[in-house]
Symmetry: C2
Subunit: 330 residues, 2 copies
């Protein structure tokens, strides 16, 4: 399997991506290869410095990097030699089996939509994030690929996320909730009411009905389905909480016990590692005819390594074939 890894993506620079590729390479066998896509000179400099085992690693030159804030579609068109565009085209041509990027998420989604087809029966791809909570991770889909959802999109996000968790994470009959503003069927907007009907009628889904945003932090569900606009708001709010609220709480704790500042720092660091994105293998764009994994901008080498291994798992467990079996006749 040939797994593309965008060496120009992410906040920490090429050396961090290359370190992740090297860590992954140590765990690969046979023909499996991490293909670093980006500026050859930068990549080779990082590979030289790292001085690690370089079996299972190749480089494809793609000189341009799409800026994190650039408008996705326009920039992709104007930068055909960007790492994200090249990675998508190579996957289309069958020269890569997967693409991984911590770069501009919108550009990743647009590149995948532009160059890879959708899986048979899938209306819109969705980004499915495993969001860590104190009660365990919950998969939220969609978190921003599709901000104008129709009811059947939400239904399909439930099915695809469910299949993904079943196959890659061995979750038995994942409990799927539909994010709304009240548990009763009558609560919500037109989108969620119609999506709820579709989901209730699907005998494959273990549909637990409407859930509220506060619920997913408490456990009780494995998947929370929502429109990409709403999912993005939820995800960033959870992030905002760890950035703004947790330090606020810990500051109050430290103030109450000035003699125990070191312990408080330790708790802060424990919490940070508990909610560390790098423990997860990135975030799949579900529904494209290929494998595309989106990493958080802050991803470190361990995160990139896990994303490479996640891409391998995605193919080994034939997630896409299972999606087509379920949705192919939609």
């Amino acid at each position: 399997m040939r797994i593309g890894l965008d060496a120009m993506g992410g906040d920490r620079g090429t050396a961090e991506v290359v370190a992740g590729a090297l860590a992954a390479a140590e765990k690969l066998n046979g023909d499996d290869t991490v293909v670093l896509v980006g500026d050859r000179e930068q990549i080779e400099a990082a590979l030289g410095k790292a001085n690690g085992q370089q079996d299972h690693i190749e480089v494809v030159h793609a000189p341009d990097a799409i800026p994190m804030d650039a408008a996705p579609v326009e920039t992709l068109r104007s930068m055909p030699d960007s790492s994200i565009a090249v990675m998508a085209k190579l996957q289309k041509q069958g020269e890569l089996d997967a693409g991984i990027s911590a770069g501009n998420t919108g550009a990743c989604v647009a590149a995948a939509q532009m160059h890879l087809r959708r899986l048979q029966g899938v209306h819109r791809p969705g980004i499915a994030v495993l969001c860590p909570t104190f009660a365990g991770p919950v998969m939220i889909c969609d978190v921003g690929a599709n901000v104008q959802c129709r009811p059947q999109h939400l239904h399909q996000y439930g099915v695809m996320s469910s299949l993904y968790l079943e196959t890659l994470y061995d979750v038995d009959k994942p409990r799927v909730g539909l994010l709304s503003i009240g548990e009763e069927e009558s609560k919500g907007n037109e989108l969620t009411k119609q999506a709820g009907q579709l989901m209730r009628a699907d005998t494959y889904l273990n549909f637990i009905g409407n859930v509220e945003s506060r619920d997913f932090l408490k456990g009780g569900m494995d998947v929370m389905v929502c429109d990409g606009f709403v999912g993005n708001v939820v995800l960033k709010l959870v992030e905002g909480v760890s950035e703004a609220l947790l330090p606020g709480v810990l500051k109050m704790v430290a103030k109450a016990m000035p003699d125990r500042a070191a312990d408080v720092m330790q708790v802060a660091s424990d919490i940070k590692s508990k909610f560390d994105y790098n423990s997860y293998g990135g975030t799949p764009l579900l529904g494209v005819a290929g494998i595309w994994i989106i990493c958080h901008g802050v991803t470190g080498s361990r995160g990139f390594m896990n994303a490479v291994l996640g891409a391998k798992g995605f193919r080994a467990h034939a997630v896409n074939q299972r999606i087509v079996e379920h949705l192919g006749s939609s």
Copy 2:
């Protein structure tokens, strides 16, 4: 001024509402009256027990209570003698100048829409909640009155919230953000892109552009405008965080310092009071031709007292007249 207070609403029962009315009555002068609307027998029993000053207090009998989870419109129609329906009708007839309820929020919105007109020029009323954060309170509008927003609704929520904060909270030129999924104008869905254009064109508004959900926890804005579905999701997620995440953090702190459990409990209680709903005077339903204030289900006597004083402030500062001045020709 005659201020209606729903004695059947809220999780803590009639006695708690009555205690709030008595506390408010001590601060009222002249003809100002709190009119307790609900089951006369229950109210008078609570008034008798409380044995407080009963000037400035009246009782209107309304025997029925709308259950918290009941479908709003249907239940209002089938329970014309419910406290919420009676309070709305009395306000329509000019026998009350304001209505306050900690009951079924949907029923409050429906009753206000059914019996009170909208203010001239206002397309849809919106619920504007002051959400406490470590960086100070932020007004979020709408949080659930209107789950199918059009762009002009969002624009008007910005204007009405801004006027409310200016007049009642002396906030100079409130900074108004539009909740979206990226700061650039191009980010968002069709609704937010079009609302952004309307808001940018409004010279009254101090519009700071798109904001992300994580931002409002950090300060930097006074108002965050959003669709009622999204606002409800945000509000409940912030609540969920205090219910699920804060205890999780404090548990980790307590585990790291088992000898200081009492201090940790104290911090937990400090945080709880910092984010106490009862410090605010309820949540106005902005845009109706009247005064309607919605309280959280858990509101205690101090919260009801503050809501009564908030209703007085709402009228004293002529919030509705100011809204009509700004939006009357819309």
